[in-house]
């Protein structure tokens, strides 16, 4: 409503309680629009698409507001709208900066939880890379030693992306680190499954692959709906397993089993999350398992770092500039001969003796 002289206004307005009781003669209401939202260059009128508030003025004086009064109020209204809009933009910017800072902290914590600078172990070499598609992601890998001499390797993918998924990965990592205390992996998987199913409101589940490498080459593993790692052995690539397995946190009655294989010297395992094989180009074609196998074979004789870079490069080339739609994680493990390690130790001892 914009009205200057109430005596000329609609009867409903003239007889309104607030007008009669306060003996009002003039009233002006000027809507304050956000003109900073932009003008349509083709349009003759500005795009009044956001109401920020109103400027209201009334008077009991006998003389109604003049045209000049109205011009002054219009100018004041435009000024007020600008100030309101700037204040609101400032507030939004502060909020954005605060969220960015919190995300940055979450990313730092997440990165700190992922093993940094993976070392070579006496009986195997390992390298890993994780590239989230948002600030933080739901993929996760870990490598840690157990008191019995075996080394645990884990790769997991929490459903969804972003902060929600990242929170769950931190929880998974804490739970799984309990295996250093000697808890059986299958029991940990079952416990985690029950824990998440009991808290279905969390709305997340995960795929996981957990392996234990013994220095003698025995490789025990438990899987939970995770894509099979690829095994490169004597010039050929195969999948470590076929068939399904339950995810963690989706089906209450899920059960998990441990399997094992014996690794041979120079066997290379490639662990990955579905973000690799489901990477999509601009036409929504999937990178797929076959392309991953081809890239694996192509770089299989290279060092693990080169292998990892080669496969990552193949995925990026396939994407062809398309935006990454899921977190991508790769972990490559190459088993060594135990004898090599003994031989290396003997050589070191011999060299030391000769020096003396």
């Amino acid at each position: 409503m914009i009205n200057e002289d109430l005596r000329l206004a609609d009867l409903n307005v003239q007889h309104a309680n607030s007008v009669v009781m306060q003996f009002l003669r003039s009233a002006v209401v000027i809507p304050l629009y956000n003109l900073a939202c932009g003008y349509d260059v083709q349009a003759t009128e500005p795009a009044y698409d956001e109401l920020l508030g109103t400027l209201y003025l009334d008077s009991k004086g006998n003389i109604p507001f003049s045209a000049l009064d109205r011009q002054i109020l219009d100018a004041l209204g435009a000024q007020a709208a600008n100030i309101l809009n700037n204040a609101r933009l400032m507030q939004r910017e502060r909020e954005r900066q605060r969220l960015e800072q919190e995300l940055s902290i979450a990313r730092q914590i997440r990165q700190a939880l992922v093993p940094q600078g993976l070392q070579d172990y006496p009986h195997f070499a390992i390298t890993g890379i994780h590239r989230p598609c948002h600030e933080v992601g739901g993929d996760y890998f870990d490598v840690f030693s157990l008191p019995d001499g075996r080394t645990a390797i884990l790769i997991a993918d929490v459903a969804g992306k972003g902060l929600g998924a990242a929170l769950l990965t931190a929880m998974l990592q804490g739970s799984l680190s309990g295996m250093t205390l000697g808890v059986e992996p299958v029991k940990v998987f079952e416990h985690l499954n029950r824990f998440l199913c009991d808290r279905a409101i969390v709305g997340r589940h995960a795929t996981m692959f957990f392996g234990l490498i013994d220095p003698n080459g025995m490789f025990e593993f438990v899987r939970a709906g995770h894509p099979s790692p690829l095994l490169f052995r004597r010039g050929a690539v195969s999948e470590l397993y076929t068939g399904g397995s339950f995810l963690i946190g989706l089906i209450e009655q899920a059960s998990f089993t441990a399997s094992q294989i014996r690794l041979e010297p120079d066997d290379t395992l490639l662990l990955f999350t579905d973000g690799v094989i489901e990477a999509e180009d601009k036409d929504r074609n999937l990178f797929g398992l076959e392309r991953l196998k081809e890239a694996f074979v192509h770089h299989s004789e290279s060092s693990l770092d080169a292998l990892q870079s080669g496969i990552f490069g193949a995925v990026e080339k396939f994407l062809g500039g398309a935006q990454q739609s899921d977190d991508i994680t790769l972990l490559a493990v190459r088993y060594r001969k135990q004898a090599d390690r003994i031989g290396t130790l003997l050589n070191i001892q011999l060299e030391a003796t000769e020096t003396l």
Partner: protein, 111 residues
């Protein structure tokens, strides 16, 4: 992702899903799927036109199905394309919700 339903014989509700069951697709159907899980007796989820299923998409199917099963009702999946069926089987979903490629067989299993 779109969702629509059609009543069939013997209290069976056929749910047609159409599109990509990724994060966005799952968000688009979750509410309707949960409402159906709370009201339907037998649910036949038609996946013939689902071209992709991601991790969150699995949840959109499994959680309502489990709610129905808790009430003693039945759910079946019908006609997934190869990619979708592979994902369902890789997650052992087929062990808790049967998958059919023949409509008659699916209906018979739900009766």
């Amino acid at each position: 992702m779109t969702i629509s339903t059609e009543p069939m014989e013997a209290d069976i509700t056929r749910v047609f899903l159409d599109g990509r069951l990724d994060i966005e697709g799952a968000a688009a159907i979750d509410l309707k799927m949960n409402v159906l899980a709370g009201s339907a007796k037998f649910l036949l989820i038609d996946l013939q036109k689902v071209s992709f299923i991601g991790s969150m998409g699995l949840r959109s199917i499994v959680i309502p199905a489990q709610n129905l099963r808790r009430r003693g009702e039945k759910v079946a999946l019908f006609g997934p394309v190869l990619m979708v069926e592979e994902v369902l089987k890789a997650s052992n979903i087929d062990q808790v919700i049967p998958i059919f490629h023949e409509l008659d067989a699916a209906v018979a299993a739900l009766r």
